[in-house]
């Protein structure tokens, strides 16, 4: 029997790769943002059935995003660095809406609880992830990704990424810095330490090591707005009343896998393919022959009507003494030429649209029925 979390994981593993394929029309940065947000939906949703009812299918979600997303304009915004690029995109709001329905208790959760999945792209934090007017996030309480210096013992220095904040003022300073803390500690932009769990860490010699930061998941642009100062070692005297947990505290959940799209290849079902060719080729040939009748008829009529119209048009300028008669002949010739053009287009449509479409449809049906996708 699966637990709710396991069911969510299974659905997530099926849903995200499919969605990843469908969102290739997006700018890569936005695509990763959307996938990270959907990943977080699965992680935080408590009612999996409600979530799946809301999502319906990856295709549905891709359509929802596509309706609100203009890839060309977005790419230009990002490349030009215009102020519009800093605004919250509509697709983020669309996913946010779903999030608020399936995990309303997470909407206003403290910044320390934000998972690394949300850190994959700085845009998520930039957009005040999953906040809205009804549940505004208080900026004064919003201290993103700050590691409480007095709450955890870190004996090994955290491996710092080569990322530095633009200004010193942007770095959030701890209210009561530990005296042992070194001011020039290495900075770590992506790290999550839930406050509840931090305080549960015992002050044992074997301090729980900080898990390595997923460097691959971090985009090239460093999230400048979330620099964190981490002291190298902050020994903490934990109260003795707190029992030592048996399992090591997990500071951060597993990073979101971003390589969603599995490589597959098409393998023919030989028997079905032979059977399909045996039936489809004669049937298609008969259909094409039947379609050739109206096609040739349209061409013949078009040629005849256009020739007649041309003669009528030329005769209008010779032999008619009255202007009124010339006008009538000219008008008639123009109408006849218009009908000839319509018949000519009908011929082109039969050849390119109907017959071509029939052949393409038969080939596509054969691909759908007689081939299966297998892992490469």
């Amino acid at each position: 029997m699966y637990t709710q979390s396991e069911v969510n994981d299974i659905n997530k593993q099926r849903f995200l790769p499919e969605l990843g394929k469908l969102l290739t029309f997006m700018v890569e940065q936005d695509r990763q943002t959307a996938l990270a947000m959907y990943s977080r939906l699965f992680d935080d949703a408590e009612d999996e059935q409600k979530l799946m009812d809301l999502l319906v299918s990856p295709t549905r979600q891709a359509v929802v995003i596509a309706r609100t997303y203009d890839a060309k304009a977005r790419k230009q915004q990002l490349e030009s660095g215009s102020p519009a690029a800093d605004e919250t995109p509509a697709f983020v709001l669309a996913i946010d809406k779903i999030y608020q329905e399936v995990a309303p208790e997470h909407v206003n959760r403290p910044a320390e609880e934000i998972e690394p999945a949300a850190l994959i792209n700085p845009l998520i934090n930039q957009f005040s992830l999953f906040s809205d007017d009804a549940h505004p996030i208080d900026d004064s309480e919003y201290v993103p990704f700050k590691i409480e210096a007095d709450a955890v013992s870190i004996e090994e220095p955290v491996e710092a990424l080569p990322i530095e904040p633009e200004t010193e003022e942007e770095a959030p300073l701890p209210e009561e810095p530990a005296p042992e803390a070194e001011p020039a500690a290495p900075e770590q932009p992506v790290q999550e330490l839930p406050a509840e769990e931090e305080r549960a860490v015992p002050a044992e010699p074997e301090a729980v090591p900080v898990p390595p930061v997923e460097v691959e998941a971090v985009p090239a642009q460093a999230p400048e707005a979330v620099p964190v100062q981490v002291p190298e070692a902050v020994p903490v005297q934990a109260p003795e009343a707190v029992p030592a947990p048996e399992e090591p505290t997990v500071y951060a959940p597993a990073p979101v896998e971003l390589s969603f799209i599995p490589e597959t290849r098409r393998k023919p079902r030989v028997f079905l393919l032979i059977l399909y060719v045996l039936f489809a080729v004669p049937l298609t040939a008969v259909c094409i022959l039947l379609l050739l009748i109206p096609t040739v008829l349209a061409l013949t009529l078009a040629v005849g009507v256009i020739i007649g119209g041309s003669f009528l048009f030329m005769s209008a300028f010779s032999g008619f003494p009255k202007l009124a008669d010339i006008l009538i002949v000219l008008g008639t010739s123009v109408v006849v030429l218009a009908l000839g053009l319509l018949l000519l287009w009908l011929f082109v449509w039969f050849v390119g649209g109907v017959i071509g479409g029939l052949i393409r449809g038969v080939v596509n049906l054969g691909r759908k029925w007689c081939y299966k996708e297998v892992a490469a």
Binding site: S315, I328, T332, V335, L342, G352
Partner: protein, 72 residues
């Protein structure tokens, strides 16, 4: 193909409208169909072509009818 239909449809509609206006103006300014027919008949021998086509059509229809009767 849909775009093609729109373009061709637009052109055809414009041409038909233009032709209709020309015909209307021609009739309003004293145009006569009998005069036009007689002029074209003299130039292209329309009545001759019409008779030829009528004979061919009648003969073809009779042959088809006879063939159907024999098969029946």
């Amino acid at each position: 193909m849909n775009k093609g239909w729109k373009i061709i449809g637009g052109i055809v509609l414009v041409l038909i409208l233009l032709g209709a206006i020309c015909i209307g103006v021609g009739f309003m300014t004293g145009g006569d169909v009998v005069d036009i027919y007689s002029t074209l008949n003299i130039r292209y021998n329309l009545s001759g072509y019409w008779e030829l086509w009528s004979e061919w059509a009648m003969t073809s229809l009779n042959n088809i009818w006879e063939g159907v009767r024999q098969l029946w």
